[in-house]
């Protein structure tokens, strides 16, 4: 898929020579890769194509609640670009989602590395670190709300014991603290995602290049930077992309805990979409917003893949 030039390791795709065929029957073998992909593509197209087209089309209509819809051209888009809540949502998504993603990556990678070494009780640790993802999101959100709620807050209690704060931080009433609270929630719940993907990636690395480098006298850091990281790049990229796209959909915690407040400081784009689409039922406007979000993510993902890594044909 997305190839990476690796030091000392050949690109590992089969050359088309393998697929060159002898005789007319064998000609079908050229389509072998497409056959393997076909079921996946059929299902994906079937489930997502109609909704996508429907939504894009709807974005050009105005659908006032309870009344007849009418064609509105680019009116929704024009309104969106001037909508302060829209930009606020993008900003908050960037702040909360971006910080969460960075932390999840850092912590997840560290834990994966630690557990790739020979440690006692390794399998126990591994199993434990996957668990946070497994809890029902709304329960997770509400339990964290219970633990953060000023006046009886377990988190504040712990921080007081560790001498990090005095008094009772107002997690729900102050914008910075509220955002921090949401970041903590997301990191707790979703670091396991990054952890498990990177751990499996580390486990799947061929040991020969590492052993060879050790024999050549490279120390641990050099081995990590020049061998492990490049080999892991496809997996790191995928983990970043997948988790990044999911963090944009961050919703449960905001709904259960802050409702987008205080003020509008924790209203992410997904919560604004919910507020407009599900509460006010303005489907034309919601569709336009979704299209813009889609375009932004599309462009960012594309950029990340092309510029950051060498893609070859």
């Amino acid at each position: 898929m997305f190839d990476v030039r690796r030091e000392g390791v050949e690109k590992d795709t089969f050359s088309p020579a393998c697929l060159k065929t002898k005789g007319s029957f064998m000609k079908l073998k050229r389509f072998y890769p497409y056959f393997l992909l076909a079921p996946t593509l059929i299902i994906l197209l079937g489930v997502t194509l109609y909704p996508f087209i429907y939504s894009v089309r709807l974005s050009f209509f105005s659908v006032p609640f309870g009344r007849i819809r009418y064609f509105a051209g680019l009116e929704n888009y024009a309104e969106l670009l001037q909508d302060p809540f829209f930009w606020n949502g993008i900003k908050n998504t960037g702040i909360i989602g971006g910080s969460a993603l960075a932390l999840e990556f850092f912590i997840g990678f560290t834990l994966a590395l630690l557990l790739s070494r020979k440690i006692k009780l390794r399998s126990l640790f591994r199993a434990i670190f996957i668990i946070p993802m497994m809890l029902i999101p709304v329960v997770t959100a509400l339990i964290w709300r219970l633990m953060f709620f000023p006046g009886g807050s377990v988190v504040s209690d712990a921080m007081r014991h560790l001498r990090l704060v005095t008094g009772d931080p107002n997690w729900i009433g102050q914008p910075t603290l509220a955002r921090l609270m949401l970041i903590v929630m997301d990191v707790w719940a979703w670091t396991p995602f990054v952890f498990i993907i990177l751990l499996a990636g580390l486990q799947g690395l061929p040991p020969e290049p590492l052993e060879a480098a050790e024999v050549d006298g490279a120390n641990a850091l050099q081995r990590f930077v020049h061998i492990t990281l490049p080999l892991l790049k496809p997996i790191i990229v995928i983990a970043l992309l997948l988790r990044g796209m999911d963090v944009i959909k961050f919703f449960d915690a905001i709904y259960a805990v802050t409702g987008g407040g205080p003020g509008s400081s924790t209203e992410t784009i997904s919560f604004y979409l919910y507020r407009i689409g599900f509460k006010s039922f303005k489907m034309g406007y919601t569709s336009a917003m979704s299209v813009i979000v889609f375009v932004i993510v599309f462009v960012l993902a594309n950029y990340l893949l092309r510029k950051g890594f060498i893609i070859e044909e």
């Binding site: 898929m1 997305f2 050949e10 590992d12 089969f14 088309p16 697929l19 072998y32 890769p33 393997l36 992909l37 996946t40 994906l44 997502t48 909704p51 996508f52 429907y54 939504s55 399998s123 591994r126 199993a127 434990i128 670190f129 996957i130 668990i131 946070p132 497994m134 809890l135 999101p137 709304v138 329960v139 509400l142 219970l146 633990m147 709620f149 209690d157 707790w188 995602f193 498990i196 993907i197 751990l199 499996a200 990636g201 486990q203 799947g204 061929p206 080999l231 496809p234 995928i238 992309l241 997948l242 944009i248 784009i269 979409l273 489907m283 979704s290 889609f294 993902a301 594309n302 044909e313």
Partner: protein, 277 residues
């Protein structure tokens, strides 16, 4: 062991222990909240060791609501959609990882792009489609939707794992012609077990905990899943019925945890590369 090494080991264990505490505490708190008396739940300072506990909320959730049905539905729908996505996605992942063919890059990006559109907006056309197909309030609706959502995860992640395995390792088994299928089963699959296990766990978790489509596409205990059922304890006069809610949350984790514990030994490198050469 030299002191430096010992020091590193201690540091590592310290970090891990702290991580375990941070991970486990909220789960422990969830379990504890399910058995606490109502008054002890929102108390200042927080009550870490309640002097009285009760199983009344467990009984309420298990016997007076359709918790058993939610459990059955969630398990069935998650298992089936995970198996389907793995079966369908693995060949696609292999194709993207191993073959060079025109459109490969674009098809991969298309698969990625199916995750980019906000779900809220497409939920309504999907609702209408499911209604026309007669799938509403059945397992079919969610199985179809979850399989599609998990497919992109399976294909993209597994293709990255397949690429980790160097070509020579596979080609060493291809001495007699292009029996790619054989090399797949004998070499690629066992070596990429960690990746497959990781993806399987992720698919189960996503299907199990998904909320938006589950709530829109189901109505009755015939198809309702645990995340939707759990919300029957939120709202109304009591605000949040912590006891039953935390009970449902606690038992919801158990099957996934059991599954993960069972297969997680495959999360490590199975065969060593050396054995093949």
């Amino acid at each position: 062991m030299n002191p430096k090494r010992q020091g590193t080991q201690v540091l590592i264990y310290a970090v891990l222990i702290v991580a375990v505490i941070v991970v486990i505490f909220p789960l422990w708190w969830t379990f504890l909240t399910s058995i606490k008396m109502r008054l002890d739940i929102y108390h200042d300072p927080p009550i870490y060791i309640p002097h009285k506990v009760t199983l009344d909320f467990w009984k309420l959730a298990w016997f007076t609501r359709s918790t058993k049905e939610w459990y059955r539905n969630t398990a069935g729908i998650s298992a089936i959609s995970t198996i389907l996505s793995l079966l369908i996605g693995m060949p696609a992942a292999y194709s993207l990882a191993r073959f060079r063919f025109p459109g490969r890059k674009d098809l991969a990006f298309y698969i990625l792009s199916t995750r980019m559109f906000p779900p809220i907006t497409i939920s309504i056309p999907i609702f209408q489609t499911m209604q026309r197909l007669g799938f509403l309030d059945t397992w079919y609706a969610l199985i179809v939707v979850y399989t599609a959502f998990n497919l992109s995860l399976v294909v993209l992640v597994l293709s990255a794992y397949f690429k980790e395995i160097p070509r020579e390792t596979e080609e060493s088994a291809l001495v007699d012609g292009c029996s790619t299928l054989g090399s797949f089963f004998r070499i690629t699959l066992p070596l990429s077990m960690p990746g497959i296990v990781a993806v399987a766990i992720l698919c189960i978790i996503f299907s199990w905990n998904e909320f938006l489509f589950a709530v829109l596409l189901t109505n009755s205990p015939v198809a309702k899943t645990l995340p939707v059922g759990a919300t029957e304890f939120i709202g109304g006069e009591e605000g949040v019925m912590w006891g039953p809610l935390c009970f449902v949350g606690t038992i919801s984790v158990l099957p996934i945890l059991a599954f993960a514990l069972l297969i997680q030994k495959h999360l490590v490198r199975g065969l060593t590369f050396g054995a093949i050469h």
